[in-house]
């Protein structure tokens, strides 16, 4: 077992070395590499090998502005010299090789711009160093898709990793345009990629380019089987979204074979390697399969769980920025292409110095002498309000024992929410349907009145309650609020969405509504207020990806404390 792990590590490091070599031969065609590893000696070793192989590599600070990326006006130099000074920017000149540290924290805007630059065909390449701790924390997907090689060297110890010897790529680069691919290569790679559930056709294109580079490195002008295997390992396997089906592997290999014969007679003729005619994609698939971690599916499930759209989109959550929202006092700073200047404050800052500066520069043509340190930037605070949606079970089963506590808890929470200036909404479900008793409000009085009038009794239309909460959450996030749902119930769903009393359908409806909510990435908490905790509710909480808190016999104070603890980040 121990040996197995060691071999795996050795292989990983070997692959990393191959990746460095491939990338050095043809960085532009591969778009770059996504390296997932914590900062440490192993990563440093890899990066320094890359630096030696690619001497033009330039570090890109994580918070780089557009001016520095694409070129722009150098304001400080412009102001001090009195005439327009431009900077060229990292991507402004010819092909650029960028090294992006902390890529997992890259803002979607920057990622989009980089993706765009990689798409232009100007020959840029990016090495993204991703230090994400959990699967959620990763390079934005649109950018990852455009980086040819994906490497995960997490968990390698320095002892596993020999220092990478410098090598020369000049000859390989010269040979590269002449490298031919056998006619069977494309069908084989496409079959493998579809077996691995890779949707993006970019992957196969990258694999081809990697195979070409490998052949060139090896001094050949024809891509062979080993090149394709290595390319599969570097490019395709890390992108797998499902395990290849073992049983059907044989069937699928038959598909491309007849087609190869008809389609690519010329490449077959020019191909001196006889064995490559029979190149089975099974071989590639085997290589890929060997690389797939056994817990792939679990990992994928973790990644598939919707990342909070808010974190990506910037919609919701409180942000302090310098673009819009409630104005804050302006700050000194440099224009970075993102922020807006506060002209009045800038002039005010420059005003007291005018006489002194004029004395120093009597011939300056400007009417006002402004220097870089006078610049004041506007800042805004955009408060996106939180909305707490209570979905309260007012059915007969819940009513007698628990409804009073639930009401009390809502009131308490509301009082706190009021102090924090959150909004609160109340959805109650009983009988055959759910009602929005209280649209999003900050009014304490109104809430108390509506709560007091909340009647109990009847069936438990849990799915309807969730649907109302979902609709409300959707509307409110459209209005810039950040909704959170607190579901208080005893979990015995017995009324289906269409109002019929069918326990089975009711449970199914509730769980599919829960999944719909989860797909919207609305945070939630499920409070089981039944006297005996319900396993069913735990399942529902899983569907919601929400914490499940059983609180039998809790009074309103404990209820509100529990909800508060979960909701407070």
């Amino acid at each position: 077992m121990r040996d197995q792990i060691d071999t795996d590590r050795d292989l990983t490091w070997l692959r990393a070395a191959t990746a460095v070599a491939v990338l050095s031969v043809d960085p532009a065609a591969l778009g770059g590499v996504w390296i997932r590893a914590r900062s440490g000696p192993v990563r440093d070793r890899l990066v320094s090998a890359l630096r030696i192989a690619l001497p033009d590599l330039r570090r890109m600070p994580p918070n780089i502005g557009d001016d520095h990326l694409f070129g722009g006006v150098d304001l400080s130099a412009t102001l001090s010299s009195g005439c327009l000074v431009r900077t060229s920017g990292l991507l402004g000149g010819g092909p650029a090789l960028l090294l992006a540290p902390m890529a997992e924290r890259m803002a979607p805007g920057l990622a989009a711009r980089l993706s765009q630059s990689l798409d232009t065909g100007a020959g840029h390449a990016l090495i993204a160093l991703d230090e994400g701790a959990d699967p959620d924390e990763r390079l934005p997907a649109s950018l990852a898709d455009r980086l040819g090689i994906h490497l995960d060297i997490e968990g390698l110890a320095q002892a596993d990793c020999a220092v990478l010897e410098p090598f020369s790529v000049g000859k390989a680069r010269l040979r590269l345009p002449d490298v031919a691919i056998p006619g069977t290569a494309i069908p084989a790679l496409v079959t493998v990629s579809s077996q691995l559930g890779i949707d993006s056709p970019r992957a196969v294109t990258f694999a081809l380019r990697a195979a070409r580079a490998l052949a060139a490195l090896d001094g050949r002008t024809v891509v062979d089987e080993d090149d394709l295997i290595s390319a599969t390992e570097l490019v395709l396997a890390p992108r797998a979204t499902r395990l290849p089906e073992q049983e059907t592997a044989e069937e699928t290999t038959e598909d491309p074979t007849p087609e190869q014969r008809e389609d690519s007679p010329e490449s077959n003729e020019t191909d001196p390697h006889e064995e490559i005619q029979r190149l089975p994609d099974e071989l590639l698939l085997e290589a890929a399969r060997a690389m797939l971690p056994p817990d792939l599916l679990a990992k994928l499930a973790a990644q598939k769980a919707p990342r909070n759209g808010a974190a990506q989109a910037g919609a919701g959550a409180v942000r302090k920025g310098n673009r819009r929202g409630r104005p804050l006092p302006s700050r000194p700073g440099q224009l970075d292409g993102q922020s807006r200047i506060d002209l009045v404050a800038t002039l005010r800052a420059a005003a007291p110095w005018q006489r002194i500066r004029r004395n120093l520069a009597p011939d300056a043509p400007q009417r006002v002498l402004v220097r870089a340190e006078d610049l004041r930037l506007r800042r805004f605070e955009e408060k996106s309000d939180r909305l707490l949606i209570f979905a309260v079970d007012a059915s007969g089963s819940a009513a007698f024992a628990r409804l009073a506590e639930a009401k009390g808890a809502v009131e308490l929470m509301l009082a706190e929410a009021y102090a924090r200036r959150d909004h609160v909404a109340l959805v109650a479900f009983r009988g055959t349907q759910a009602d929005l008793l209280l649209p999003p409000t900050r009014s304490l009085v109104q809430t108390k009145r509506r709560l007091g009038a909340l009647p109990g009794g009847g069936g438990t239309p849990l799915a309807s309650g969730l649907r109302s909460a979902l609709e409300l959450a959707h509307q409110s996030s459209g209005r810039g609020m950040t909704p959170t749902i607190a579901l208080l119930t005893d979990g015995r769903a017995n009324i289906a969405l269409d109002g019929t009393a069918d326990r089975k359908a009711a449970t199914e409806d509730a769980s599919s509504m829960a999944r719909a909510l989860r797909a919207q990435a609305t945070p939630a908490v499920v409070i089981d207020m039944g006297t005996r905790p319900q396993p069913q509710l735990r399942g529902l909480a899983d569907d919601l990806a929400a914490p499940y808190i059983p609180l039998p016999r809790a009074d309103s104070r404990r209820l509100s404390a529990a909800v508060g603890a979960v909701l407070e980040p």
């Binding site: 100007a122 997907a141 993006s200 294109t205 990506q312 673009r323 807006r340 002209l343 509504m513």
Partner: protein, 334 residues
Amino acid sequence: MTHPFPFSAIVGQNEMKQAMILTAIDPGIGGVLVFGDRGTGKSTSVRALAALLPPISAVEGCPCNSANPDLVPDWAEGVGTDMDEKPTPVIDLPLGATEDRVVGALDIERALTRGEKAFEPGLLARANRGYLYIDEVNLLEDHIVDLLLDVAVSGENVIEREGLSIRHPARFVLVGSGNPEEGELRPQLLDRFGLSVEVASPNNIEDRIEVIRRRDAYEMDHDTFMDHWRGEDATLRARILTGREALKAIETPDDTLRDCAQLCIELGADGLRGELTLLRAARAVAAFAGAPAVRRDHLRQIAPSALRHRLRRDPLDEAGSTARVTRAVESVLG
């Protein structure tokens, strides 16, 4: 820079290609929204379309590509009266673009260094008479999307800020793309796009192989590849230009109007924008097909693109909007 990938060489994705061609025939249809997987040729097709279209004739140096010297806005400086041919503009609007960059703003450098009040035009000016392409439109900040759609509908960009009061024409076809798994657009915004298409990676191996073959040939053997497809692109360009000419003369029988209305009622699409777009797009389909009048098959051909994003959402409907539109088309048009 190499030539963009040829439009006719894009494998499959017929619905997306149709939508793009229709906006080239009649830009008044409104924007196109393309939702689907990554790497399905969304941005490739926008760029390819622009390269396919004939160059526009514009006043040399005009920041908003004016078609004749009278239309050059008065704030544009140093613009002569010479005309110049330039390719149809395709402007990329990156995520995280600030409002300043999009609409234009006070030219800070000139304000500070020379004390002059000058306008620095933004992306909207440059996109005039062309295409504005937004990748991941669903992640764009709402206020920017609002602003874009407003300008796209009115055809004019109005700037009232920082002591500037400026307007300039901004007529462009908005093309937005995105991956629905990463967030949705608000229904109000969806409705503003003329057509919407769903793209997916081809699900048969043959098509996929062909995609990669062509892409590889494009990259490795560029000139031969472009020569090969130039003819097809030219044919398509000629058809688009003929379609543009034919558009005005296309007749719209009353029965077609009735069909449009019936379809929208059947689907419960809100507002009248659905009918109007459907009709307009169907007319462009007829023009492209060389037909004298709009017929039922033209409607049938474009109904999914024109209507699928205008339906009320039903979170539990697994089948999706396309299936609902198809069903309605079958029941109304037979």
